[in-house]
């Protein structure tokens, strides 16, 4: 099953189990442009799988109103870049309604805001803005990297009572993998996808796959952690690993400057006093032409080079 189908199955299961779960967004009736809603409107009807106008602010704001009025909406934003048209509704409304009302209202919704470079789609369809949302109190931020996680973490997000910014990757939709549909999962838990003793390499979303390849080619013994949830991030797992390896590299596709890697690196450096490095995209808009777009990518080779710098550095 691929990454898109896995999410679709998770949503299908949630809609079957709970009539309060509804989905709204553009083009859902046709299955969503990545197939991640395929068949759901046919199965649950247009009243629960709602085709909307191109009105991002009202898609998101209406979802807040639906949540306050007793539903558990799933909000389709197509790509994170478009969700910027709904930033008030996410940051000022969804994230704060519970707090501002003194707990009278809650906003249990899942907003799907896919991140990442989408080949050939240029600057307004290729951003990775997970750090923006991690910065906002009230929000949960999830970044699945595999079909299994896109099934289990979407299920966990749908069960979560908080507003969840659920960030699939725009180039993982077709990724195939085994999915155990009975596996349940929890938000806020990282996964050690490869054990090692020399360096802790933390990544998420598509960068996990480049990290695994780089680790396999490195002369160092690299422990790769898929963070999976950006907020709340799994401090315990990352700290335990970094305490063991005494070296931390965080790799992400988002622009390196003020990326979430900075937060993890700073926390680990402050808490453990170990060597930390970050690798991320350069601070440029993603260009259209392939040679330009490639400059924005965080590749296996770049991660390998960063690991090699550790190797050349002073001993632990």
């Amino acid at each position: 099953m691929n990454y898109a189908q896995a999410a679709c199955r998770a949503l299908d299961r949630a809609m079957a189990a709970d009539t309060r779960v509804v989905a709204l967004g553009e083009d859902l009736g046709r299955g969503g442009i990545f197939g991640q809603y395929r068949g759901l409107q046919q199965k649950y009807g247009a009243a629960r799988v709602i085709d909307t106008p191109i009105s991002e602010a009202t898609i998101m704001g209406a979802a807040v109103g639906m949540a306050l009025a007793g539903l558990r909406p799933v909000v389709e934003m197509r790509v994170v870049d478009f969700a910027l048209c709904a930033i008030d509704e996410i940051v000022n409304q969804a994230a704060k309604a519970r707090f501002m009302s003194g707990g009278q209202g809650r906003v249990p919704l899942v907003a799907r805001l896919p991140i990442g470079i989408w080949s050939g789609s240029a600057a307004q369809h290729s951003q990775s803005l997970e750090a923006w949302f991690a910065h906002v109190p009230g929000l949960v931020v999830v970044t699945p990297s595999t079909p299994q996680d896109n099934h289990a973490l979407l299920g966990a997000a749908l069960a979560c009572g908080d507003p969840v910014i659920y960030m699939e990757h725009k180039e993982l939709w077709g990724l195939e993998g085994e999915v155990d549909e009975n596996e349940t999962d929890s938000l806020g838990r990282a996964r050690i996808v490869r054990t090692g003793t020399d360096v802790t390499l933390v990544a998420w979303s598509r960068t996990v796959h480049a990290a695994i390849e780089a680790a396999a080619q490195s002369e160092l013994s690299v422990e790769v952690i898929d963070l999976r949830t950006i907020w709340p991030w799994d401090r315990d797992t990352v700290f335990a690993s970094a305490a063991k390896t005494r070296r931390l590299l965080v790799a992400h596709e988002a622009v390196r400057v003020a990326g979430f890697g900075a937060e993890i690196a700073a926390e680990v450096a402050e808490g453990l006093g170990v060597r930390v490095k970050r690798i991320g995209g350069p601070r440029i808009p993603v260009g259209y032409s392939k040679p330009l777009e490639d400059q924005a990518r965080v590749t296996r080779e770049a991660i390998l080079a960063a690991l090699t710098e550790f190797d050349r550095g002073e001993s632990k």
Binding site: P53, A57, G61, M66, G70, M100, S101
Partner: protein, 341 residues
């Protein structure tokens, strides 16, 4: 604009009482907010009501007339100028004032204040600090009621400034295509902060824009509470019959400044004097007298409202402050906490 009278004197007096309570509340809140915010040349001093306080003084007829046509289970969304809507929907005046005082006994436990006042128990889903932000929320609430096969309706209050924001078009369009049970109420006080809305608004305004997308409604003298009551009743009857969302354009006037410390010296004095002559409470009193209400009865309603507010002021001043650690609650379940290392 028609000049209807209430069907009964009691109904008219009830509307008058709601307006009197809002006015007394706003006057007390205004007094308690002096020194509460550094803006418009005012400096910060000790004040019981902190921060920007947006008063609905002079606009009481809109809140009173519309909310009197709603059932307790019906929902509303409000604006930064929302005390009147809150009280008219049935929220406790004492707890509203306690929230403005930032006390634990306020509706939001001191977490919201004036701009975020909410009482979900009476269907008041919240004031909002962002112009037009309540529109999509109201649309979603009405959509949820549709999905849940509920009979309730939603009334969405917003100001004249909101019609120049995108969510106005988006929300009206959405409500229209889904034929939601929703009454949009443009409470037009003719001022967008310190700028006259007319200078910033092309065309004929809220109702014309609504009609441009096939969403009908009515314009009404927003200082005539009986006219607002009648118009809201007619439009809500259409909404409840499933004839689609409606828009009420209620034209009133912002008697006070944008916030309580704003002297609004940028306005033409004659404009303000004219507005004061059209005071909705005085107008309602005059018409109630025509219906046979005695002056003593009207005066008693005013003094009861004053007494209620005086008691609320004492109670709010004596109410406990929130536990400082309450700042960390109601944030989120996953990832809550201080996260300070």
């Amino acid at each position: 604009m028609s000049r209807p009278l209430p069907a009964t004197l009691e109904r008219g007096l009830a509307l008058y009482r709601t307006m009197a309570r809002i006015r007394a509340f706003e006057n007390a809140a205004e007094e308690a907010s002096k020194g509460g915010v550094a803006a418009f040349g005012a400096s910060l001093a000790q004040a019981r009501v902190r921060g920007p306080l947006h008063l609905s003084t002079g606009q009481e007829a809109v809140a009173a007339g519309v909310c009197a046509q709603l059932a307790p289970e019906d929902l509303i969304t409000s604006t930064h100028r929302g005390h009147g809507h809150t009280l008219a929907k049935g929220a406790s005046l004492a707890r509203t004032l306690a929230e403005l005082f930032g006390r634990a006994s306020g509706f939001n436990g001191g977490k919201g204040g004036s701009m975020h006042i909410a009482d979900f128990s009476v269907g008041m889903l919240g004031a909002n600090g962002v112009v037009a932000a309540g529109i999509p929320i109201a649309v979603g609430a009405a959509h949820a009621l549709r999905i849940r096969s509920r009979p309730e309706v939603v009334a969405c209050f917003f100001g004249d400034g909101a019609i120049n924001r995108g969510p106005f078009l988006e929300g009206l369009n959405w409500a229209r295509i889904h034929e939601l049970r929703l009454l949009f109420v443009c409470e037009d006080n003719r001022w967008s902060a310190t700028t006259a809305s007319a200078a910033m608004t092309a065309g004929e305004g809220a109702l014309a824009r609504a009609r441009g997308i096939g969403l009908d409604g009515a314009a009404v003298d927003g200082n005539d509470v009986f006219a607002v009551f009648a118009a809201a009743g007619e439009l809500l009857a259409r909404v409840r019959r499933g004839e689609g969302p409606q828009l009420l354009h209620a034209i009133t006037y912002r008697v006070k400044g944008h916030v309580s410390v704003d002297p609004a010296a940028y306005r033409d004095g004659e404009e303000v004097s004219r507005a004061l002559e059209e005071d909705p409470i005085l107008a309602a009193a005059a018409r109630l007298r025509e219906l046979g209400a005695g002056a003593a009865r009207l005066a008693a309603i005013r003094s009861e409202a004053e007494a209620e507010v005086a008691a609320a002021l004492s109670a709010a001043a004596a109410a406990p402050w929130p536990d400082p650690l309450a700042a960390y609650t109601d944030v989120q379940d996953s990832g809550a906490g201080r996260w300070l290392g």
